[in-house]
Symmetry: D2
């Protein structure tokens, strides 16, 4: 029997991707959609400016949108996916958790909180049990789990694959797609024939979230990894797919061949949305490229390539679909992990 799920912020770019992924999902059934107060009480088709390139699912199109408030969502919803602006998320997610909802959230608020698991299932699924600590401390019946920022998700799996060589420093330059900023986030006048070398708060997210994801959880508390990460972030005129240039120094020497092998061997999971191969490594030096490779593993895999010796150690490029693996798909995957681990 399918778990009844709700989507907070259902009309936004990530909300639309969530609906696209959840509608055909065998384990989940969309039972509630919320948006801003001005949309509440209206049909989804009338308030969502649907822009995913598959058509809006018929059954969802006719659903009535409610306000983003736990009192407006039916009690028989068991799992909430949240893709709210972070200020809204910070305000309402705790209310949902208090009222017993389990929340898998893509919003950036609370990601670095001590008792909030920040999870990429294939990388640190064991951190999920930080929820026990969270429930103890906060007295919640519900629970709050986060997935990281889209640009963080893109490179952390490759670092996890190289971790056995001893990660010391990572320099990362991101080249990010406009969809990462939401539907109206980047105006066309800003970005056509242009690059914006700044995304507010993004660099810090890569630098801190990566250390939490690679950190260790001993059942009681979570310690950040020691790796030092420095990031520089850029927006370019691509629709989907964040590409990243990585320079990594490790304690043990690692050849490009060893790095490729470690990435290819890094295990995926058997969750429904996990790709068969988590990291697809390309041999052609000019791949991966956003338009050609963002759909590897149905948008849930990481593409890597251009692995070569650098002046300093190793360098390579990686890519992920920012609104699938980097956002909506990441939340769904965390929902699947919650289900598998008995939190629902």
């Amino acid at each position: 029997m399918a778990v009844r799920v709700g989507v907070l912020g259902a009309t936004g770019a990530v909300g639309q991707r969530l609906i696209e992924l959840l509608d055909p999902h065998p384990d989940f059934e969309i039972a509630a959609l919320t948006a801003s107060d001005s949309s509440a009480g209206k049909q989804y088709r009338d308030v969502a400016k649907w822009r995913v390139d598959s058509p809006i699912p018929e059954d969802v199109a006719g659903m009535t949108v409610s306000a983003t408030d736990p009192d407006e969502v039916s009690d028989d919803v068991d799992l909430i996916f949240s893709s709210l602006p972070s200020s809204v998320g910070a305000a309402v997610e705790p209310d949902f958790c208090e009222q017993g909802y389990v929340v898998s959230s893509n919003s950036s608020n609370a990601r670095m909180a001590d008792d909030v698991p920040l999870v990429i299932p294939e990388v640190n699924g064991d951190h999920l049990d930080l929820l026990e600590v969270q429930r103890d401390e906060r007295g919640w019946d519900g629970a709050l789990v986060k997935n990281p920022n889209c640009s963080t998700i893109t490179f952390v799996p490759t670092l996890a694959a190289l971790a056995e060589y001893g990660l010391e420093t990572v320099h990362v330059a991101t080249i990010q797609a406009v969809s990462g900023a939401g539907y109206d986030g980047v105006s066309s006048m800003e970005i056509i024939d242009n690059v914006i070398p700044y995304i507010g708060g993004e660099e810090e997210k890569l630098e801190t979230e990566s250390r939490k994801l690679l950190g260790s959880f001993d059942g009681a508390s979570l310690e950040l990894d020691d790796v030092e990460v420095g990031a520089s972030c850029n927006r370019v005129p691509t629709i989907d797919g964040h590409l990243e240039n990585i320079f990594v120094e490790t304690t043990e020497d690692i050849s490009p061949e060893e790095a490729a092998e470690a990435m290819r061997a890094y295990p995926s999971l058997s969750l429904r949305s996990s790709p068969d191969q988590l990291i697809e490594v390309f041999d052609a030096p000019d791949r991966p490229q956003p338009r050609l490779d963002r759909h590897v593993g149905n948008g849930m895999a990481i593409a890597a390539g251009g692995i070569r010796e650098s002046t300093f150690g190793l360098q390579y490029n990686c890519l992920a679909h920012n609104t699938i693996r980097g956002a909506a798909g990441a939340s769904v995957l965390n929902g699947e992990l919650l289900l598998e681990n008995g939190y629902l």
Copy 2:
């Protein structure tokens, strides 16, 4: 009286920019244009697919193009600007030098040769006197001076400005415009809604040319600087303007304010094409941007911004117009330096 100049490779993207800059130049007079054999004997307007957004100069339009061969160029030409494909440049530039022509070349061949000065006038104008060594060794009446690659020119002036703090390591990720690859270099099907994280040979150019430019010349030989540079290069759908993300570690600590001050204080020259301010530093964190800022200093200045503390030291972004300061303008500036220093 104006120096009579010739342009090798006059029909290409950089050749067109050379003509745009040389036509109104008070010290230079265009007296010869060369292109491939198939264009020889025809009028320039009929063989150049003119794509600069100012109109083709009338007097140049009617000039007859000759083959790229010193025997086809009039003896009363004193200075040659070369923007040939590197394999062609390697084959014919020495012939021109042997026959007494002074060549200011943008072509990538021979840039790292021991006796060929690689010059950004504001950074290492003193290296020009390596020409004495060159003439001694090669027995040339002419001379060959090179400007660096467009992506090298973009960041080296900023490093020169910071050199007093002791440069140790530089990580650079470039985000380059399509014009850097020439008129037909990047097909639209490759780059619309896409990024190509690979430009053949480009990374090595940044890594080696920068050390030559920052190196020291003692009158007899040139020693590369010790700075370690690692580069990662990307092509994006912008027309003009290479943007670069820089991470730099120095022996002495340097604050963002000190870095900005050092860049602003770095002197320009009084050559005709030198900008008043060599490095324009922006305070807004999201600048410089290619479309908005590539024309600073008429395309001859370097724009810098986003200067901030990094996890490792300092980080910032810089930008230059790749076909003006990064190519045609760089060659013209070297021509002006040759003139000022009595080599013509």
Copy 3:
């Protein structure tokens, strides 16, 4: 002595262009800037997200912005340029006129009103005297003159040039730049790798405004021209420059050569912002193109080309810079005409 001018809606995309054109203007002096209430009382540099690629003029940057209300604008301002959203324009422009201000407006409200001159000086400058009728009817000391929509301005001068052959029908398909929708008008997610074949209300503007511009004014009332115009409008990912495909049927046969000659011979004016040549006709069949040709006549000329026999009559393409000739420059030109004709 310069006329003191004010700009309503000074922070928008057209407002910025107005400032760029007015700041160096010898006959006008910027004396007042207005914007929405939330910006009132603040310095212009702090409320305008300046995106023109020349720097913000220093003296304008420090000006204090006032609310868009005639009581907030100094009495010694003689001429108002308005680039307000049409609903705001409809509400406040009459107030300014009533209080004695002469308003040259780019806003779309009231363009088709019987007593409001809609003027392209080179095409129907004589319509300006409709202001006498306007003042009589409305009892205004001030006056309201409009320039047409950016896509209307692009093709009407070419029709005016062909009018002697007897215009019967015109089919026009527009291919419009994103700047026509204002700074935030078109999101990048909507338009990258895409075309939007719809611009609300735009087609009607081309169809009706063109007939008013080509109409005749007998000193008392204005009669629309009989030409039948059908339009189809599209938005594409270009920054500036509206390109239009025109099919025109005339009562008298007209050859492509005659059409080119008629366009080239169509007179410009000697107003300060008028281009020397109003319509630049290209012989190359693939011109004009937005990026290459939008700056003809400093953005104030119309570019035409591709003139050829059609299945039905004549066809050709035309292009104008939509935020210069099509908006800010059009308003400034109307301001110059008001000055020349003694309305200031």
Copy 4:
């Protein structure tokens, strides 16, 4: 048992799409691939710069490419798909037909020849029997059938749907994607932030091919339809999907509702690649759009929308995926029709 097929020009953009469509096709089996002489004898994976966003099929990747010459293609190949440059097609297609091969060609040569069927199966499948005339006249054992130009295919089905109202005149402005020009057809420097209002020979193709497709075949000869078509063609920076603005005048009045109904009711076929619904009509006035709608019917349907009264009659927009329905898919569909009608 599958028909063994060959692909002429297999490395180009359309050739790659043909392989993508033919590889999983239940009725066809790829048995031969040809390309230019310089590629002959090499493995397909080494000579095709594969740019379709699904991976290159493994079995095809290892096939040896042969020269484009009937003597180099195995006799047991029954059906040839051709996507050659038209000059090459004109030279070699007749050789293949003479040697008994049935050729379904996308190349533009010979499309208007009296005895060559130009076919869109859903529109004029009955024209296929012109092959009897062809074989009689030319003495071929093989046969040559053509599909129209990509921009012709896009609008002709909508005209066919409206034909019962009596087509008189059609004005069409096309807004075409870069893939229509082939992999290297449009350089990025030409098209970023730009529109090119010219595609050599394209307008004539729309004007003549449409009349042949809508013409009538009486079993002996083919008569062109009387409709007058005038076209204006433009290239814009989209990857795939040709959008067209149509103005149509009919002898009988037709309302937008009737036009939508006629398009929706226009029958598809039961060929394997036919879409269920041939013409998908959108109600939203801003659809269809290339990026959102080019995949309707797996790229084999026509999308239409924006149907409204025009100054002159009716106007609307239509869209098709130019390398699927407009090229490779069109050829495959003609192959399926040849199979169904017993020509193989």
